[in-house]
Structure formats: structure tokens, C-alpha cells
């Protein structure tokens, strides 16, 4: 399985992860190598096999619908690269 540069650029856009143009070729090669390795799975007959959802069978627990923690904006914002009041700041999204 080989990938072309356009495909890598598309995946990178989906992942919101910048890959410089001059690295697309190398990354395409690396990813193609890994995809070729995982192709082995096609040898396995998985007809009618349920995909695994959990290694240990357990139901999801429910808890009372009550606030258990929160209400501490200073803790939430403590590591923010940029803040204004109790808000995270991002570049302008709407003109």
C-alpha cells in the first residue's frame, strides 16, 4: 500500500497537523511502510467475528445526576496560553 503526497496532505488536514511540503514525500513513504505491514491482517478470516468493544465485559455504571466537582475557573484556566477574564482566547473566528 503506497500513499501519494496528496493523500498525506489530506490526512494532515483532517488531523489539523501541519506537515511542511518538503516533508510530504518522506512521510508518505513512512506511512506506506506501516500500512504495508498491517496489510497482513487480510490473511485472517474474520467472517462473522464480532469486533472487540471491551477486553473486560462490564456495563457502564450510572451515578446520581449531581455536580461532583467544578466551579473553579482559576484551575481550569491555570494553564491557558492566553486568557481574558474567565475565557480562553483564540484568533478571531468570525469576521
Amino acid at each position: 500500500m503506497s500513499l501519494d503526497k496528496a493523500t498525506v496532505a489530506r490526512i494532515a488536514r483532517l488531523a489539523r497537523l501541519e506537515v511542511p511540503d518538503d516533508q510530504l514525500e518522506t512521510v508518505a513513504g513512512e506511512l506506506g511502510h506501516i500500512l504495508a505491514f498491517v496489510e497482513q491482517l487480510n490473511e485472517v478470516n474474520t467472517q462473522g467475528v464480532a469486533p472487540m468493544t471491551a477486553v473486560v465485559e462490564m456495563g457502564l455504571r450510572l451515578r446520581a445526576d449531581k455536580v461532583t466537582e467544578g466551579g473553579d475557573p482559576e484551575k481550569v484556566l491555570a494553564n491557558a496560553p492566553e486568557r481574558a477574564g474567565d475565557y480562553f482566547v483564540v484568533p478571531k473566528v468570525v469576521e
Binding site: Q40, P51, L60
Partner: protein
């Protein structure tokens, strides 16, 4: 010259503290000194000597009052994947540089509750993605072991390479690790220590930086099987904050250490015998089989037919989960933020492009690809189906045996740089450990011998789900028979 933490185990330090041979403060001071002397290993990212002294002071007070916890006064190193309140937690990544959590992971909170002393945060592969500690944004960790007459630096294994180096070098008595595909067991094998990955759900994942959520599990790395039992007892337990944490009582693991293994049935999986595997790995495995036979175990040849598909399935499932878990690093709420981005999408892309190293980038891209429209069934569903088959293989053999014996890794530690250019050859390090994660089972590496060039080799025991107790029982028998007393020469003190 006084106390040397390298000469102690958790169990012997516990006895020494109770008998007042030394105080927790003295032990902490000795550990801090040894940690600082071991800086050439680059095992520690953040040293927390003041915190260690304060913890030790409190431990001495509790010891005096007879209120000692299971790890009272025991100096530990914490893998940098565990969030520690107010102490920088980077997961070995540039993207989390400077991040100081405002909360404490459940596992570390459990350790402090039992009186443990924090020495520092230790180095690791970036986001736990690696098998040699060479993907850390903060530099390689060097294995305390070197080949006799050869000064080339060796990898400590990964991703818990800093933890393994710290325990092996001896400046702490134990360290936390995490294991997604072998990240506790393989570095334990490479550095001659004990490492245990518990059953999925045994230890809470809350507050541990997530890599692949259906595979990640925290566990102890120590210098003896008994120490691993003591430490796991403190780490484990039900946590309502982790929806996959299991609400089962934590057994007294230490009580299993030293129990007879007579009559236990030990399976030897034939598929773990690989073409091209070094003869010394096979020899060590046969030695392990002989030891357990002598101890009264019955050896049973078993088959796990889907073993060879575990690694390819893992390299779909783990990157897929990683690509969604790592979506949170976007430069908005914490961590690195790229400068000068125009618009929110450019902010995300630049921040992540600058913040992630090459291996993390590779895995995020692979994960995004296998989850993308048109490929999801062919890759992700297929891998999860294969995972079901791998689990069924194990369930079938655990109908006839109590535990499995296999090598930990297909080689001893290798020189830094040797495999850095070939991701697939690096991935093959985990060929014996990955199936255990895919099936959620407990696995333990016990140091069992030295390679021809004088480096430690581990044997791996694999148990039934939630049957860590049997692993401690069999692991202690292997440990006793192996009598592995070799230690690395402390060249870093020179």
C-alpha cells in the same frame, strides 16, 4: 558512608524504617543524593527534592504514631505521564512543556495516601510512543547497563525508560510505569528489574495522559517481585472517575509471594518461538521452563494461533485511539501554542506541527487515516475483529493452564541509534508483549539471566484476567530460581 538506596528493596526499607535503623528523612536524603549523582542517565525530567523532604517528614511522623501506610517513607519516581498537582507533567512532549496539572492522578494519589515519597518525574518516550526512550522531546535516557568493555550507550527500553533506568540505577526503590504495548515489561527486561502490567481496569487511568485508552494500564517497576506486589496493592483499586475501572476488591498480593507453585499448570506458547530469534533467548526460556518444572509446575505446550497478527492489529488500534486522544492538544487550553497563526485552523495545525515529534506525528496520521471515511471498516473494524480472535486464543488456553511463560522481548538492550531509522524494526521489540495488551491480561517481566554480552534478559509471565496473584506466586518462583543478583556498574558516579 551511610545509607545506599540501591542496596534496599521496598520490603527491606519498610523493615528498616519500622525498626528505626534509619528514618524516612535519612532515606529521602540518600535517594536525593543518588538521584543527583545519576544525572548523566537523563532519567529524571523534574527533580522534586523539597517535595521529597516534606513527604519524608510526614512519613516519619506517621511512623512514630504507628499510622504507617503500605509505602510509608518509600522514595519513588513517577513516570511523566501521571498528572501530579503543581508539578510539571509533559508526557515527554514539547507540546506539554510547562504544563502544571491542577489535579492529581488517582494512582499517584493512592501512592501518597500510602505514605510514598516523590523524588521526581521521570523521562519517557513522547506520549509513551516508543520502545527505546529515543522519542522523548527531552533527550534519550541511557541504560545504566553497559556491555563489559564497551562504553557505547544502550537504550533502557521504552516507553517507561526513565522509570526503568531509575529503578535499575538504584536511586529510587520503585517507579510507576504505564504499558500500552509493552512499555513496562520491555524496559524492565532491558534493565534487569521487575515490571508488571496489571489487568486492564485494575488501576485507574484517571489523570494519566491518555495514549490508547483501551490498552493503557499503569503498573509498578521494582527490584523484586515482592516489591511489585506491595506497590501494586497501593496503586490498584476501584475509581468511579474511570468508567473502565473495575469494582473488585484488591487482594493481598504480597501474601502470594513465596506460596508454593506445586501443581500449577504453566503453558508454553509455541508461536512465541520466532524465526531469527537469538539462541540465547530460547535458551533462557528453556531454563525458565526447567526452573518451574523443578518447582513442581506442570508444563503444557499450548498454541495461540493468532499471535503473529497482534502487532499489525496493534498498529491500527493504538494509533487510531491516539489520534482521537491527542486531538485535545490544540494550543487553546494548555500547553504549547504556535505564535502568529492567522485563524483558528492555522493555530491548531501549526501548534500541533511544532509540538509533536516525528513518531507521534506518524501515529496521529496513521490513526487519522485508518479512521477516515472509506477506510474505517477495512482497517479499524478488521483490527478489532482480529483482537477478538486473539482474546479467544488466550481464553481457550486459560481453560487448561494457570499462567503462560514466554520471553519478554526478542533481544537484550541495543545501542542508542541502532533502530531509530526503521519504525517497523522498532515495533518488533514488542512482539511478545503486545498480544497481552490487546487481550487486556496481566503480564510480568522478571529478570532471569544475562545475555552473552553481559546484559539482562527477562522472562514474561502472562496470567488470567484479574489473576495477578498467580503471577506474583509464579514470578517469585522464577526469581528465586534465577537468583539474579547482577547489578549495573555505577559508571555515572565517576
Amino acid at each position: 558512608m551511610s545509607l545506599d538506596p540501591a542496596s534496599l528493596t521496598i520490603a527491606s526499607a519498610r523493615d528498616g524504617l519500622k525498626a528505626k535503623q534509619f528514618s524516612a528523612a535519612e532515606l529521602a536524603e540518600a535517594a536525593i543524593g543518588a538521584m543527583q549523582a545519576a544525572r548523566p542517565l537523563n532519567a529524571v525530567l523534574v527533580e522534586t527534592p523539597d517535595r521529597a523532604r516534606a513527604d519524608a517528614k510526614r512519613a516519619d511522623q506517621r511512623l512514630a504514631k504507628g499510622e504507617a501506610g503500605a509505602l510509608e517513607g518509600i522514595p519513588l519516581a513517577i513516570k511523566d505521564l501521571f498528572c501530579t498537582e503543581g508539578v510539571e507533567t509533559t508526557a515527554g512532549s514539547k507540546i506539554l512543556k510547562g504544563f502544571k496539572p491542577t489535579y492529581e492522578s488517582t494512582v499517584t494519589a493512592n501512592l501518597w495516601r500510602e505514605g510514598a515519597v516523590m523524588l521526581g518525574k521521570v523521562n519517557m518516550d513522547e506520549f509513551a510512543m516508543g520502545s527505546s526512550n529515543e522519542t522523548s522531546a527531552y533527550g534519550n535516557v541511557e541504560n545504566p547497563w553497559r556491555r563489559p568493555g564497551d562504553n557505547r550507550p544502550l537504550v533502557p527500553g521504552g516507553s517507561s525508560g526513565g522509570s526503568a533506568a531509575a529503578v535499575s540505577a538504584g536511586f529510587c526503590l520503585g517507579a510507576t510505569g504505564t504499558d500500552t504495548g509493552g512499555s513496562i515489561r520491555q524496559p524492565a527486561g532491558f534493565t534487569g528489574i521487575v515490571g508488571l502490567k496489571p489487568t486492564y481496569g485494575r488501576c485507574s487511568r484517571w489523570g494519566i495522559v491518555a495514549f490508547a485508552s483501551s490498552l493503557d494500564q499503569a503498573g509498578p517497576m521494582t527490584r523484586s517481585v515482592r516489591d511489585a506486589a506491595i506497590m501494586l496493592g497501593a496503586m490498584a483499586g476501584f475509581d468511579p472517575k474511570d468508567s473502565t475501572s473495575v469494582d473488585l476488591p484488591v487482594p493481598n498480593y504480597e501474601a502470594s509471594v513465596g506460596q508454593s507453585v506445586k501443581g500449577l499448570r504453566i503453558g508454553v506458547p509455541k508461536e512465541y518461538r520466532l524465526d531469527g530469534m537469538p539462541a540465547e533467548i530460547e535458551t533462557l526460556w528453556q531454563q525458565g521452563i526447567a526452573w518451574l518444572k523443578e518447582a513442581g509446575c506442570e508444563i503444557v505446550d499450548v498454541s495461540l494461533p493468532h499471535t503473529k497478527y497482534a502487532l499489525p492489529a496493534y498498529y491500527i488500534v493504538a494509533p487510531a485511539e491516539a489520534s482521537s486522544n491527542l486531538a485535545r492538544y490544540d494550543g487553546v487550553r494548555f500547553g504549547h501554542r504556535a505564535a502568529g497563526a492567522k485563524g483558528i485552523n492555522e493555530l491548531y495545525a501549526k501548534t500541533r506541527g511544532e509540538g509533536f515529534g516525528p513518531e507521534v506525528r506518524r501515529r496521529v496520521l496513521i490513526g487519522t487515516y485508518v479512521l477516515s471515511a472509506g477506510y474505517y471498516d477495512a482497517y479499524y473494524i478488521k483490527a478489532q475483529q482480529v483482537r477478538t480472535l486473539i482474546l479467544r486464543d488466550f481464553e481457550k488456553v486459560f481453560g487448561e493452564v494457570d499462567a503462560l511463560l514466554a520471553p519478554t522481548a526478542p533481544s537484550a538492550a541495543f545501542p542508542i541509534g541502532d533502530k531509530a531509522d526503521d519504525p517497523i524494526s522498532m515495533y518488533l521489540n514488542d512482539v511478545f508483549t503486545v498480544p497481552v495488551n490487546l487481550a487486556g491480561l496481566p503480564g510480568m517481566s522478571v529478570p532471569a539471566g544475562l545475555s552473552a554480552d553481559g546484559l539482562p534478559l527477562g522472562l514474561q509471565l502472562i496470567g488470567k484476567a484479574f489473576d495477578e496473584a498467580t503471577l506474583f506466586r509464579v514470578g517469585a518462583a522464577v526469581e528465586k530460581a534465577a537468583n539474579f543478583t547482577a547489578r549495573p556498574k555505577p559508571w555515572w558516579r565517576a
